[in-house]
Symmetry: D2
Subunit: 140 residues, 4 copies
């Protein structure tokens, strides 16, 4: 499953170069990840309420084209790996022309409320399994 | 007691007008508030660890002069009111020329971990009392 | 005209109290302000491209109820004053229950690219005039 | 040259997991990069004022240990590559215990004010050359 989350560059997300700051993409990918889960019938909020987090263990983003204030764009998201102790999401940020503005991935470690790495409970794992796309985003 | 917290405008805090974004000041005042407490021998972290927060119930900031990327500045902070259910901090953001870039205040409600308004325990209240400056920041 | 901008609390906007950080509301009001302009047929991006900004000279926000991660909410926005050298927007942040989470206003000074306060050109002023709501947000 | 920039986790940088949000590290590395330049006698502000930016083309961060509100930490920074069209900085975020909380790198493309990739002028390149550490951060 690939979700497509439409967003728009907020003024506060611009910097003095007149483009969206690179740290904003990290926040957008996170928002898109939450929407991916929602589209697959899961709620990250519910997971957090149960005391489970998908703590970020790595982020990598490549920036190709800049986005400007008020630009509409889409974050494509896929879950490319879902193991009990490791998740990997892939992202592509698309301008409304369809051009790739940025792409990347994040790695996650299921974590308990006290910050310890844990195995993701079978219930969540089996709910996520059908939606994994090991091949990643089309055309990636 | 008036604390003086030196900071510098981060690139990520600028916007496409080429100045520090107005929301950054809200974050700076919070950081300065934590430093004020530290200077008065108190730790906001410790307060949080005890399950107490000074939840923000109001913020007001007036912006007079803009700050640019890499500008050094100081946030002056004073506690102008400390009651068991209401705190008020006053702030002044000073350019390194001494000019006032912004000024304002925040109101706070002591809050328990579950989000309910509570009376601040006597222990904290009496520790803070000697440092209250009802007259606010000098020259305000 | 009152615009209603639907948003959702991003994970990055929460803090360790488990609620949306108070600085996030400042960013949401700005995003809602841009949407208000769009609904009234104007583009803040276009204004910026012409070298004009509505620089923020004051912000005041009162926080009544907290918002949590993934909460859907609406920012109601009205332009309550539009003079050549001073703008005032009013905001109300509504939970999906309809309860008021926060309310406030911002004051703005038309500013040229070099940061000087200027008179807003007649063209923009007359375009905005029909949409001013001096009485503010209904029920305010 | 390895610079060491001391910082502290701001309350606004925490999330509801009770730790510093992963996007904050991106901002800290940027702030540390500016300090690295300053320590080497260069001013990124001056470079920007000349219409030159080191636009970010890639960021990668690995997170090992979390940081909590008010934690003091240090960002170690080194310039590991400086070519006319490509820069690479390496980072290590150290807890005050000396443990590595995170590490990573950023790639940069010299860019003109209008967003085009350009060759970094010889003046800047030769000023930076003596400070390059191709071997990266010690112990990396």
């Amino acid at each position: 499953v690939t979700s497509r989350t439409p967003l728009r560059v907020r003024f506060a997300e611009t910097d003095q170069m007149g483009i969206a700051h690179h740290s904003a993409y990290v926040v957008w990918c996170e928002a898109a990840r939450v929407e991916w889960l929602r589209e697959c019938g899961m709620s990250y909020r519910e997971m957090e309420d149960e005391g489970l987090s998908l703590a970020v263990s790595e982020v990598r983003l490549s920036y190709r084209l800049s986005l400007r204030f008020d630009d509409a764009f889409v974050v494509e998201t896929a879950l490319t790996e879902a193991r009990s102790r490791r998740f990997r999401f892939a992202y592509r940020v698309l301008k409304d022309t369809g051009e790739v503005a940025a792409s990347g991935y994040s790695l996650h470690t299921p974590t308990s409320r006290d910050g310890r790495a844990v195995r993701l409970p079978e219930r969540w794992l089996s709910a996520l399994a059908p939606f994994v796309t090991p091949s990643g985003l089309e055309g990636e």
